[in-house]
């Protein structure tokens, strides 16, 4: 690869959205509407083009050499520094360098590609909004932060990108700051993100302080490739972070996963994602479906050498993932807000990805990420068309009969639902069956995890087709639903492109059962994440495939029976299993639990401080200090006579004293 050319491309890919953000932000809304409409999506599309050229460059290399580190500039260069109480011989360097390898290119393609489509969609969706320029400034900032996160070769810049993503997401969720609910949701998201950031930063500190190199010396490195080369079994492996499965590496794995769980909305840091639906719908598509929430999956996949050394941490990742997937799928079945259903579905699908990367099926997890980004962005954007047509109506009980009025949107939503539900030949089918069958061979408690995964699939196809039937079929429930019109072309084109992608991207990797040799996708990722350690036998995989597919279709049929033909009563579950129904409607009471366990004690403590500690202790302390200073000042003031000779006398006396002291020291 031509290094200068690659460097320029990296700079363009990262620099264009940054420039877009700066121009939009610094002109403070003065740019004309038309200019922003080109600038906002234009920079992202430009970044996408640069990414595609990088991809072509990368594909021109033999697979073993796909992976370059591009140094953009030297940032910190301390050749000899005081590190950890001893003078480090190797010194500490942190450069702004960029890693281009299949994993980061894949993330960049999704971020800029799907992100670009969502930007184009936003031109239509946000056209009437008063803060049009601010919206695109935040969106470009988000793209920049996300690119920085996935491209960084350096732990420090990864953390910077990680936190910038959290800020951009906060700004976009609370975009309509006149709505108290939106502001509260943004705040909740940000606080949750910061909890995760603490985990990530502590994990990074522990890596920095404990990583040992070949000769057992401290490395003090923040370069990801250096860390990975020394952490796991490999050419240079000499107990980088202690023995395999040791305490240190397990703690680091769990801390990093805390960060990943906050970004990816996994239990116990999942409660922000449904509330984040208060933001504009393109934001939900961009942040809460395609990119940001998959940063956790990326983090675990990127740090896979570390997780391979920490089976306990990886097991926790997998179990939390599948647990969250099941919980979110159950909640999704009873929600009425169309965006919340899709949000819980996102949580559930990302749970599956987290399960996959925790179980060691990295390529399968990333493939699920890739297809999910397509069909989930599609579902959000199609839902956005519906919401827009119904003038901000989000309750599926007020919809109905939209398939005749919004034919193209209905078609797109249907494709997205089929892909999400894992109906054969749509994208989700390939990725989910591959994920489950690879997970089948790797997971520690395999059969049970597989059963849980398949139940998630059944619930998924049930709840998404519940939405399809409730919102698009039947009779219009309200006059607004009856008057709905198809969306404008600007909003339809990206949706249709995504529908096309959702239908076909699955064919990139026909590998799930080991029958077909076309494994483009996992071959592409193989230089970074390697191959899965084990495969289940072909027979078991085929059986798993058949059963899984049949059950997914069964979920669809169940939704049809309940909501289409109405042969099964809708309130069957609520009558027979009221506790399960309540659990689902109340979202497993996590908000209430956190309220009782964290929020209310904090507020009570704050009230105590406000009423007792503040007036009686802190106020008194401040008054006393003020009085002391005033008295001292009054006393000192008498020293200031205003007479020149007094000052010069003091000066000479002090000079003499200084000279005498100096003389003694010299003697």
């Amino acid at each position: 690869m031509n290094s200068t050319f690659t460097m320029v491309l990296c700079a363009i890919a990262l620099g264009l959205p940054t420039a877009g953000f700066l121009i939009n932000a610094l002109t403070a809304g003065k740019l004309p509407h038309r200019v922003v409409s080109f600038l906002g999506p234009g920079v992202v599309v430009g970044s996408f083009v640069a990414t595609v050229i990088l991809l072509v460059e990368l594909l021109a290399q033999p697979p073993a050499h796909r992976g370059v580190t591009v140094l953009l500039w030297h940032w910190l260069n301390l050749s000899v520094g005081l590190v950890h109480g001893t003078v480090g011989r190797s010194g500490f360097n942190a450069n702004f360098s960029i890693r281009i390898d299949p994993l980061s290119i894949l993330m960049m393609l999704v971020i800029t590609g799907i992100g670009g489509l969502i930007h184009i969609y936003s031109v239509g969706y946000m056209a009437e909004d008063a803060s049009y320029n601010r919206f695109f400034a935040y969106m470009n900032l988000f793209i920049t932060s996300m690119l920085l996160l996935v491209m960084s070769e350096n732990l420090i810049f990864l953390i910077i990108g990680w936190s910038m993503v959290a800020f951009a997401s906060y700004a976009l969720i609370a975009f309509w700051y006149q709505r108290p609910a939106a502001v509260a949701a943004g705040r909740k998201a940000f606080v949750t993100q910061v909890i995760g950031d603490v985990g990530l930063v502590l994990g990074a500190f522990l890596i920095f302080l404990n990583l040992r190199g070949r000769g057992g010396q401290m490395l003090h490195s923040v370069d990801l490739q250096t860390i990975f080369a020394n952490v796991g079994p490999g050419a240079h492996f000499h107990n980088g972070l202690g023995p395999m499965g040791g305490g240190m590496v397990t703690v680091i794995g769990i801390l990093l996963f805390l960060g990943a769980a906050a970004k990816s909305a996994q239990w116990p840091l999942h409660t922000w994602l449904p509330d984040a639906m208060e933001g504009p719908t393109p934001v939900s598509a961009l942040i809460h479906a395609a990119t940001m929430v998959t940063a956790g999956v990326y983090l675990v996949a990127r740090f896979h050498p570390l997780y391979q050394q920490a089976p306990v941490a990886a097991g926790i990742v997998a179990v939390v993932g599948i647990g969250t997937a099941l919980m979110a799928a159950i909640i999704g079945c009873t929600q009425f807000d169309i965006k919340r259903v899709i949000a819980y579905s996102t949580m559930s699908q990302i749970g599956l990805m987290i399960f996959a990367v925790g179980a060691g099926a990295y390529a399968a997890g990333m493939f699920q990420f890739f297809t999910h980004a397509c069909f989930k962005a599609l579902l959000f954007l199609a839902a956005g068309n519906v919401i827009h047509a119904l003038h901000d109506e989000q309750d599926i009980r007020s919809m109905g009969g939209l398939s005749t009025r919004m034919k193209l949107t209905f078609f797109a939503f249907l494709v997205g639902s089929l892909a999400l539900a894992g109906i054969p030949l749509f994208a989700g089918w390939f990725s989910k069956e591959e994920l489950l069958s690879t997970g089948l061979a790797l997971g520690p408690a395999v059969p049970w995890l597989w059963v849980l995964g398949v139940s998630v699939n059944v619930l998924t196809s049930f709840y998404i087709f519940r939405v399809v039937w409730a919102a698009f079929r039947g009779q219009p429930a309200t006059s607004r639903a009856a008057a709905a019109r198809e969306a404008r072309p600007m909003m339809l084109v990206p949706v249709l492109v995504l529908a096309f992608l959702s239908a076909v991207v699955g064919f990139l990797n026909i590998d799930f059962a080991g029958f077909h040799p076309i494994t483009l996708f996992s071959d592409f990722l193989q230089p970074v994440v390697g191959r899965p350690a084990a495969h289940a036998s072909d027979g078991i995989q085929a059986l798993a495939l058949l059963v899984g597919t049949a059950l997914s279709v069964g979920g669809l049929a169940l939704a049809w029976a309940v909501y289409g033909r109405k042969v099964i009563s809708v309130d069957l579950i609520s009558r027979r299993l009221p506790w399960l129904y309540q659990l689902s409607v109340q979202k497993f009471y996590w908000d209430e639990i956190y309220g009782a366990a964290l929020v209310r004690p904090t507020l009570a403590f704050a009230a105590l401080v406000r009423q007792v500690l503040e007036p009686q202790f802190f106020d008194t302390m401040v008054t006393e200090v003020r009085g002391g200073v005033a008295t001292l000042a009054d006393d000192l003031r008498s020293l200031q006579t205003g007479f020149f000779r007094d000052y010069s006398l003091i000066f000479f006396v002090c000079a003499v004293i200084g000279l005498v002291v100096l003389g003694f020291r010299l003697a």
Binding site: R637, G642, F643, F644, R645, S648, L649, F652
Partner: protein, 101 residues
Amino acid sequence: MTGLFPGFLTLSAAMFALGSLGVMVRRNPLVVFMSIELMLNAGNLALVTYARYTHTMAGQVFALIVIAVAASEVVVGLALITGVYRSGRRLDIDELSEMRE
């Protein structure tokens, strides 16, 4: 030669002490200025003495700079004194104590 150095240095110290005494006890600003000049020249004398003693030029060069600084300082100081005189006030340093608070 060596025997003369203590004499020069004692003279310098005496000039400095006299100068500082003048700065502290005299009330006429012009005399105060002359005392300051005395102190500066005491410093010059010490510098030149040590330059001679160590056979280097640095002290002599430094003395030249001190002379230049002293000249410019006198310019500023005399301008201030003239300004005070033209505003119709007595030339007494103890009268000029408004900067007390």
